[in-house]
């Protein structure tokens, strides 16, 4: 299951370490994503990239 980090965080869920910055995509099992989503660190809804990020990506 995929999700997007809402804010910068470090987490250990079921022995796996997640280090994410805001906007990072992460993939894990549904339970782990559910736990991170429940405490407001990630969202499974599609996140619109910040304008600056999109512009930088377009230039790549």
């Amino acid at each position: 299951m995929k999700a997007t980090a809402i804010k910068q965080f470090t987490a250990t869920m079921s022995g796996r370490v997640f280090r994410c910055k805001e906007g990072d995509a992460l993939e894990a099992d549904a339970k782990t994503i559910g736990q991170l989503e429940a405490i407001g660190l990630v969202t499974t809804k599609s996140v619109r990239k910040p304008k600056t990020t999109r512009k930088a990506a377009d230039n790549d």
Binding site: F9, T12, F18, A30, Q35
Partner: protein, 332 residues
């Protein structure tokens, strides 16, 4: 002489089971208990050998660990909660320089190395897991914690606790004073109530795995997490009791349908107003005795107790603990 007033404990998260930490990440004081414990089982050999007495004994097993009581020190506390629950997530708090650590149920428990000091004696136990973590509060007394750890490898006769970290005991601890205490016995949304005391025990039912030819454990394995405890209230009326028994504050007859309640305790810190500790649960199967008559009088107290908080969804956690402190993260 071993001066029992000189006690200290150090703890560090291990990278894995086999790799003991080299020095503590946190060092703090304690209010009692044992910084080093050996559950040593000695069995007498049942042999008849021509005399009316036994002959030998043998050591069946040795399980090292630590079993101590302490206050809630802001930096070390999330480490123990993480050890008891299994998952931790850290993110910047709304206050600059402070971080929120949210601890929830995880499938695996981490390993710790624990150093102890009593008088001039120093010890170390590696490969520890948190078997049981108890917390309790009453009135304005500092929040009390009891930590029981089981480990794999024990060492005595150390020259000191390695490293040069200042003990956390000089930086204050979590207290109920100025905190907020909420409970509801029939919903997941607790409300402020006249709570007098409370307790929570997180029991992982850890056991030491004995291997043939080895007296110390091959591993420490955790079982099912049981979250039990109580919230004691001096209520103005029987609403909380009626909600628990009937499902509604205006109910009149007991229901056979299980009614789940919730609680949320917010603690403050004795020296840092930006540090906080929040303990909450939203699927609590409360039970309580109807208050007793007392000819001497006084307000009735009702103790709402719970034996085993379950989860309402796959990603749920029986208890959620959020600690705000100055430590950025606990995962190395």
């Amino acid at each position: 002489m071993i001066n029992t007033s000189i006690g200290l404990i150090g703890v560090a998260l291990q990278a894995d089971k086999a790799t003991a930490a080299s020095a503590p990440e946190y060092v703090h004081g304690l209010t009692g208990g044992q910084v080093f414990k050996l559950d040593r089982t000695v069995e007498s050999d049942d042999v008849s050998c021509g005399v009316r007495a036994g002959t030998d004994s043998h050591i069946e097993s040795i399980v090292p660990g630590a079993d101590f009581d302490t206050y809630g020190y802001a930096d070390a506390l999330p480490e123990y909660f993480y050890g008891a629950m299994g998952s931790i997530a850290s993110a910047a708090s709304s206050e600059t320089g402070y971080y929120d650590h949210t601890i929830t149920l995880g499938d695996l428990l981490p390993y710790f190395t624990v150093w102890g000091r009593i008088g001039g004696e120093y010890t170390k136990v590696a490969g520890c897991k948190v078997s049981e973590l108890e917390m309790e509060f009453e009135g304005n007394s500092p929040l009390q914690f009891g930590v029981t750890m089981l480990g794999i490898a024990a060492t005595m006769g150390l020259a000191s606790i390695p490293g040069s970290i200042d003990p956390s005991c000089f930086d204050g601890y979590y207290i109920p004073t100025g905190g907020t205490f909420k409970i509801d016995t029939a919903s997941g949304t607790p409300a402020v109530a006249p709570v007098t005391k409370g307790s929570l025990t997180l029991d992982n039912a850890c056991s030491a795995i004995a291997l043939a030819g080895q007296v110390t454990p091959g591993d420490i394995e955790e079982g099912k997490l049981t979250s039990s405890g109580s919230v004691t209230v001096k209520p103005d009326d029987l609403t909380l009791y009626k909600k628990m028994v009937t499902g509604s504050g205006s109910g009149t007859t007991p229901t056979g349908v299980m009614v789940y309640g919730s609680f949320e305790w917010t603690f403050t810190h004795s020296k840092d107003s930006k540090c906080a500790l929040v303990v909450s649960a939203t699927n609590v199967p409360f039970t309580a005795d109807f208050p007793e008559v007392d000819p001497a009088g006084g307000a009735a107290e009702i103790e709402f107790s719970f034996d085993n908080i379950g989860v309402a969804e796959a990603a749920g956690s029986p208890v959620t603990i959020t600690v705000t402190n100055k430590v950025e993260e606990y995962v190395s």
